[in-house]
Symmetry: C2
Subunit: 152 residues, 2 copies
């Protein structure tokens, strides 16, 4: 099995872990970045950059352009604080920053909720299959569209 334990964070603890992670990379943990991260973490579904821009605008009580949000989301994705759900053009916070996986998203087409599982055996299988085809895998995108348990 590819199962293993993570140190899962939430709320205050998650914010703190994210801040540490970013600083460890030599990046700053600014108010803007904190606001984007918190807004992202509070969504229970993948959020688009525009969703986040709106949430942050309310939170800070001034208009934040999508532009700025994209910049920060890109940073978060490269530093593993967030992940992009390609098939939804949206983003989710990483509940265990510091832990690197090729994660597998399960996206419910009915309610939009998204969970993710890590299965290193599967993802390395994908990487191996790519390698066997003479392709150097950098970022596997494994997402499953379907119906979640509560939408049956």
């Amino acid at each position: 099995m590819g199962a293993h334990h993570h140190h899962l964070h939430q709320g205050e603890s998650l914010r703190e872990a994210a801040a540490q992670q970013l600083k460890a990379r030599g990046e700053q943990w600014t108010e803007m970045r904190a606001a984007v991260f918190e807004a992202l973490a509070e969504f229970d579904k993948p959020a688009s950059a525009y969703d986040i821009a709106e949430a942050v605008s309310k939170r800070l009580d001034r208009r934040i352009a999508a532009n700025s949000v994209y910049r920060i989301l890109d940073l978060f994705v490269t530093t593993n604080l967030a992940m992009r759900v390609e098939s939804a053009n949206a983003y989710v916070a990483n509940a265990h920053p510091g832990c690197l996986h090729d994660c597998i998203f399960l996206i419910c087409d009915n309610c939009g909720s998204t969970s993710h599982i890590d299965d290193d055996k599967l993802s390395s299988g994908v990487r191996d299959a790519a390698a066997a085809a003479g392709f150097e895998a950098v970022r596997p995108v494994i997402e499953v569209r379907g119906k979640c348990g509560t939408c049956d």
Copy 2:
């Protein structure tokens, strides 16, 4: 191994196979659909709906709106004549219509070229992992971003 043989089509033969496949589904093979399919098949990379609209406009020497192309691409995707590459917001023709797979795309971030492999073992592994998490998989999206053999 999940390897197996396909009847690969190309050019005239591919067009013909696509037409048959669509008609078998009770859909019409119209001039417009043929033009979209041929334009799509001639791209050596995933093509966006707008790329195709432009190509078809030239081919037919009149303006074709992206709108119409989307309708036809949607039809192609549901009938397995084409597939959508989620991480590229683009489409590719299916070189073996009639044969149904969860296919795995390998997309080169350098040159944009895309190949695809079928590995039923891997994709069923993904489906099983989803099922184990209480999720009913409908459409697995497995795409690998990286560097292709000729871009090393």
